[in-house]
Amino acid sequence: MGQDPLFLGHISIGVVLIVIVKVLVAFVALMVSVMLMIWFERKLISDMQNRIGPNRAGPFGILQTLADGIKLFFKEDLIPDRSERFVFKLAPYLTLIPAFLIFTVVPIGGTVHIFGHTVELQVADPPMGILFVLAMSSVAVYGTMLAGWSSGSKYPLIGSVRASAQMISYEAAMGLTVATVVLVTGSLGTRDIVAAQAGSYFGIIPKWNLIRLGVVPFVIFLIAVTAELNRPPFDLTEAEQELVGGFHTEYSSIRFALFFLAEFMNTITMSAVIVTLFLGGPDGPILFGPSFIWPIIWFLIKTGVFLFAYVWFRAALPRLRYDQLMDLGWKVLIPISLAWLLLVGAMQISKVYGFVLFAVFIVAGAALLRAVAVGKESNEVDIVTTFRQESPRKGTLGGDQ
């Protein structure tokens, strides 16, 4: 009954080896890119702030991360007295593992032929592909939440409650935008999503979901992912001025390094997911040389653009206030992504229907905003008049001035 293609009927050592090699390559590549990413972020931030940044270890300071990692390895591993020991040790792994698992469903290239096997450049291509990404990103909440709770101290707890509330809030918007992509693709598999974006309009404009869906879902997804990653400007979870260091305040040594690793790994995997969903993944022209290398290069370039954008966000944008964060998530992103989902659905049926719905949405949205404004005004009046009537004391509540 289990339909794992690997084990169906016959099983050859070659297939098993290919899977093992794929996992290893993905893991090592991700680790190395995390190392480079941390260096890239520090170097770029310091450029943007007129500083020099790391420049001692290796050429251009590129080995700085390695040095930091080694330092963290040899530091003392502290476990607070009041912590919940088992959960405290478990939490970093709960953050790290989903970060890696998401990467396994991202297609990083086309197919290659090795020893008579056709190999997809992707660790796994399950039929539930993109749902797996959503599942893993919702599981990632546990690491953050339990790390804060198990530290047995109040700032980490506040940080982790903030973080998990934020992650849950933005997951809804993220899921709805993914649904728009699935709607036009007609499949949940990541390779199908990429394949559906091949081709172009008029031979020039690529048929990526970024353009096909209008830019709105892409922007919403980018914002939601930034919030999901707890990266600036949504890094309330580790707001130094308010919370010391956030949920990982009590962590030190290698466990702290694991959180750090997970954060950057998540940044890279989520950039890769954005590329897969909206920018056609490894789609791009094959210029010269071996044909299997170009998709990988295009994929790396596109992912690199988003990594740069994340660093840029961090350097350029001030941190949001907590109520602004929640308002943005619940009152702006979720309604817009829901409306856009319906709109894309209507467009799938017919263009006329779609444009009518678009007009309806604009009118309805304006009416709703007006209704909310009127409601707010009348509420304010209500409180004052109620107090006037029911106040036992003489005089009014300042209505006369």
């Binding site: 009954m1 289990g2 339909q3 794992d4 084990f7 099983i11 919940e84 959960v87 399950p126 039929p127 539930m128 749902l131 797996f132 959503l134 599942a135 919702s138 599981v139 909440v141 546990y142 939440m145 339990l146 709770w149 707890l157 409650v161 998990s164 509330a165 849950i168 997951e171 499949s187 949940l188 598999g189 109520d323 509420n379 304010e380 209500d382 409180i383 004052v384 109620t386 107090f387 106040s391 036992p392 004391r393 005089g395 009014t396 509540l397 300042g398 209505g399 001035q401």
Partner: protein
């Protein structure tokens, strides 16, 4: 050793089932035996993952993903929220049972449920078909088939469930949102209308703190 390993590899279903069943049972026992509610909730997550694995093994990929997203990713997270925020995250001592005949009744209910499951798993009289009927096609069909059934045959129940959920959410929001104004404070400074609105503003920003602070002297509008 090697032949044993090879026979084991030849039956991947069995291995997956045994591993997942072990995880499910261990998680289930953990839920009821841990003293600390957070540990119990974590065991519940473990059970959810075991069940999701079993779903994948049965080729129900969509169900597996939904199992993780909804149960592990949302519901147990909310459990944990409540446990952490209410501060009941300490070991509990059950010295005295509230309901007297709890244990015997639980045992009877357990036996009845087990019997029911065994009957449903083997006999055909309940639904006219065996419970475990095998795969419904190859796995990529799975999502398609579920969608087709949900949006055609069972459209009405599906939409009714959706409306029910929306109503539940709306009523929860409505019930939890109350405009709280501290009467005494407002009356202390009657000429200062600003303070009244200031109270409302703070209420909007931090509803929890405000409501807990003024719990004994609230005035609802």
């Amino acid at each position: 050793m090697v032949p044993l390993l090879l026979t084991a590899i030849a039956k991947p279903d069995l291995i997956v089932f045994l591993a997942a069943a072990l995880v499910v049972v261990a998680g289930g026992i953990g839920v009821i035996s841990y003293r600390n509610p957070v540990h119990s909730a974590l065991s519940l997550v473990m059970t959810m993952f075991g069940i999701a694995t079993l779903f994948i093994e049965q080729n129900a990929q969509f169900l597996a993903a939904v199992q993780i997203i909804v149960y592990a990713g949302a519901i147990v997270v909310l459990f944990l929220f409540v446990i952490m925020l209410l501060g009941v995250d300490r070991a509990e001592v059950f010295s005295r049972e509230r309901i007297r005949a709890q244990r015997p009744l639980a045992a009877v209910a357990g036996v009845v449920t087990l019997g029911e499951i065994l009957i449903l798993a083997h006999a055909t009289w309940a639904t006219g078909a065996k419970a475990a009927n095998g795969p419904i096609g190859n796995s990529s069909d799975n999502v398609f088939k579920i969608a087709q059934v949900v949006f055609s045959t069972y459209l009405l129940p599906f939409e009714a469930t959706a409306i029910l959920l929306v109503i539940a959410v709306l009523s929860a929001v409505y019930l939890s949102k109350r405009v709280v104004v501290n009467v005494d404070e407002a009356l202390e400074a009657p000429e200062d209308e600003v303070s009244l609105f200031a109270a409302e503003e703070t209420e909007k920003r931090a509803p929890k703190e405000q409501s807990s602070k003024n719990d004994d002297e609230v005035y609802e509008v």
